[in-house]
Symmetry: C2
Subunit: 471 residues, 2 copies
């Protein structure tokens, strides 16, 4: 019976499945994931093939993220070498490592052969040492050589991002000669290219002509006439720097050069889009004190990855409690102090996070440097002071109407000014200092910041209360 | 005398100035900014021209950000119409508005004529109503029409991002015919193009051939043979969706279509890089409760933009203080409670922010949806519980050695478990709920989250202490 009701669905044309696979926003449709799970549960390989064939490799990678490990085990063997390569380059982290373990060396070598050298190197880098050897041995000499060359560069550098295949031409070539060359060279050229790099006899870039320009120009014009200056990317440049340059100058592709200046590859903007996503997510997660162990990480791995940040925070919370302990006597005399005590600290933490986040962002986009540091610092302090005064009034009035005690209102207000000022100072100086010392300003500033704002908040409120109210 | 010492510097070749302008990381050199300021102070227009000529328009835009308003007033009149247009399209916010006020309608119309229609429309949109009319009147009919068409689309949609110039060809054309057409049409085509869109007689896209593919293929091959399927972008799609599609499928360009399916323009990846930067920064700033008023905003504008978020936070802080007020009697009996009280609340805030940030990120990248929602919720709650147990032990031991009171240690530990669990639940459900209700999950989740973690933290610690220690 189950079979009979399934048949009409199975017979639906592929076009329908493609429509069903994605929602209007191009995210994978949960109903489609359900269909894959059902087919896998029934062991219906024909149906699974149909479903997977309806997906772009990027969507197969997404599907892997939504499935649990036992379903991934069923899907992976069904993928073609071509799809497998593309799926592997879309995935990362725990899921990729797990899938790599499911594939034998020969099949993996074949899939890697279908990938761009930069993506293939990334995958090989994820393999365990002995499997890495096996896989490389199973590859063709050319594929192995290009992967080994890529792996010789550090992770997250231009050398790793680049593809070695480029379209380069001497400057005396004409547009027509260049086009003839491209038509003949065909497969040896990169699959996609956007610029012809014009090089000297030592293979050093002299300039570049966009392919659009090439197509628009008369065939007898020499390349030297249409080329424009290029920005050369050193092979050891950090990928974050490369992304900054691409973003700033709106580059589509850029030549990568060795220390001697020789052209060794190119980076294209599609690789950069991924880098920008990665780097900005890293900053966002770092500010929250999470290093994302990625999808597919186990509960224990996630717990452990968050534990350390929380432990550091516990240390700072206890330090702040130590400040309160200094005034335990004052609180024993007037328990109302304990009620209002957290307010200035909490406001300082929030105001400081505002300043800090703006500063971290401005440092990442290089909008903040020595040229405008003083102005920025002064601006943040002025903003802190102004909001301090504003909230002096707000909290003062609230406290007065709550406790009917003018002295308490003044103390709450003064603590607010002091802590919003401290928050501004800490919020701007901490990321600047971390950056200057060569640390990632996003990484640990928040924990330092809240230490400052909690301690100053408690100290100023309880200290002033002790002096003004309880004297 | 001043003149004499200036001359050697002024005579330095342009090449040297270009080297000096940028640091190794391609950020503007503070020393160079200093040189611009010096030249402006001396009123040395010749030198200013030299300095500005050494900069790429993107760097001139950067320079504007580092200078104060009175220096910008000196620089803007020195820019060529071409540079001015590019500088305006790089800038945004307060600085751009300020610069626009410095330029008369005729000069602005000329600069806008040099820009891509999408960038020009953006600038015109920033103008005040009466100046907008003046500027549009001063433009050529063609330029005005293209800007008015762009402005007819909503801000932050595909229609605004796209450029109207595209390279389209009927499917029966051969590669050779297409290339001849490009060479003849020349200036009417977009400055940069990466795909030839193959269209039917009604101008609906049938597919696309990359320019690389065009160059590699024999001249007599019909386009229909080398074209591949395209993803069509509806003209009213939100730019964040467009960026998601470009990132997911590694697109370089995509055709934009009207509701009827007719091709009306194209979006290229360089526009998307800017969108991705913008959107991820928006999320990061929203989590910290800052809406960046941009560089060049006045101190009063910044103070005001941050005030409202802080006021909301004050409301939640007072709410949490209300919870403490419920237990004022307990604190009066045992002031030590006030010392330990903030710890569980602070830990909950941090743990909740971790969960929340991971969830906001996963929602933005569409890694979290109905298909894996239950798994994700369960995972976060399990992580919260496990870390709760871990910190039950840690804080229990610390409290025991600090206060030599086993009951106090148990209370501190239990409050920790309860609040880390509450933090996990709030941290995962708040962004999911905001997203489901159609709000930006990054925007206000933190304020709700800390309300929950503060109130639960204080309530569980003081409540348990009252029941267990003071009963």
């Amino acid at each position: 019976m189950a079979r009979a009701t399934d048949e009409p669905t199975a017979a639906a044309p592929a076009e329908d499945l493609e429509d069903l696979a994605l929602r209007d926003d191009y995210a994978l449709n949960p109903a489609f994931v359900e269909m894959v799970v059902d087919a896998a549960d029934r062991g219906d390989t024909v149906r699974l093939h149909e479903l997977i064939d309806a997906l772009h490799p990027a969507d197969i990678a997404d599907l892997m993220g939504f499935l649990s490990a036992n379903y991934r085990e069923v899907i992976v063997p069904l993928l073609s070498a071509d799809d497998l390569g593309e799926v592997l380059s879309e995935l990362d982290g725990a899921i990729r490592e797990e899938i790599l373990e499911l594939i034998d060396a020969a099949r993996l070598a074949q899939a890697l052969g279908e990938m761009d050298s930069d993506d293939a190197a990334d995958v090989v880098d994820d393999l365990e040492e002995d499997k890495k050897g096996e896989v490389l041995a199973a590859m063709s000499d050319i594929d192995r050589a290009s992967i080994e060359t890529a792996l010789a560069y550090d992770d997250e550098t231009a050398g790793r991002l680049m593809q070695r295949e480029v379209l380069a031409a001497p400057q005396f070539w004409t547009v027509g000669q260049t086009m003839d060359h491209v038509r003949e060279a065909g497969v040896d050229l990169p699959e996609l290219f956007f610029d012809v790099y014009v090089v000297d006899p030592a293979n050093k870039p002299l300039g570049a002509a966009t392919v659009s320009r090439l197509l628009k120009t008369r065939l007898d014009a020499p390349l030297s006439e249409i080329m424009e200056p290029v920005i050369e990317i050193p092979v050891d440049m950090d990928q974050e720097e490369v992304a900054y340059i691409f973003d700033k100058y709106h580059l589509i592709s850029a030549p990568v050069v060795e220390p001697g200046g020789r052209l060794v590859g190119q980076i294209t903007v599609d690789d950069i889009v991924a880098v920008i996503q990665e780097e900005s997510q890293e900053d966002m997660l770092a500010l929250a004190g999470v290093s994302d162990p990625g999808r597919g990480a186990s509960i224990m791995e996630i717990t452990r990855s968050r534990f350390w940040w929380l432990l550091i925070n516990l240390g700072t919370a206890i330090l702040a409690s130590g400040v309160i302990a200094l005034y335990q006597g004052s609180i024993a005399k007037l328990a109302a102090l304990a009620v209002l005590n957290p307010i200035a600290a909490s406001m300082g933490g929030n105001a400081g996070t505002q300043t800090l986040t703006v500063a971290v962002r401005a440092l990442a986009t290089k909008e903040l440097n020595a040229a405008n540091m003083l102005v920025t610092v002064w601006r943040e302090i002025a903003v802190g002071l102004l909001n301090g005064v504003a909230f002096f009034i707000v909290i003062g009035l609230i406290t007065f109407f709550w406790f009917h005690d003018p002295a308490m209102a003044v103390v709450a207000g003064l603590a607010m000014i002091i802590n919003l000022l401290a928050a501004a100072v800490a919020g701007i100086f901490l990321p600047l200092a971390l950056d200057r010392l060569g640390f990632d300003p996003a990484a640990s500033s928040v924990v330092f910041l809240t230490t400052v704002t909690d301690c100053v908040g408690y100290f100023s409120f309880l200290g002033l209360a002790t002096v003004i109210i309880l004297r």
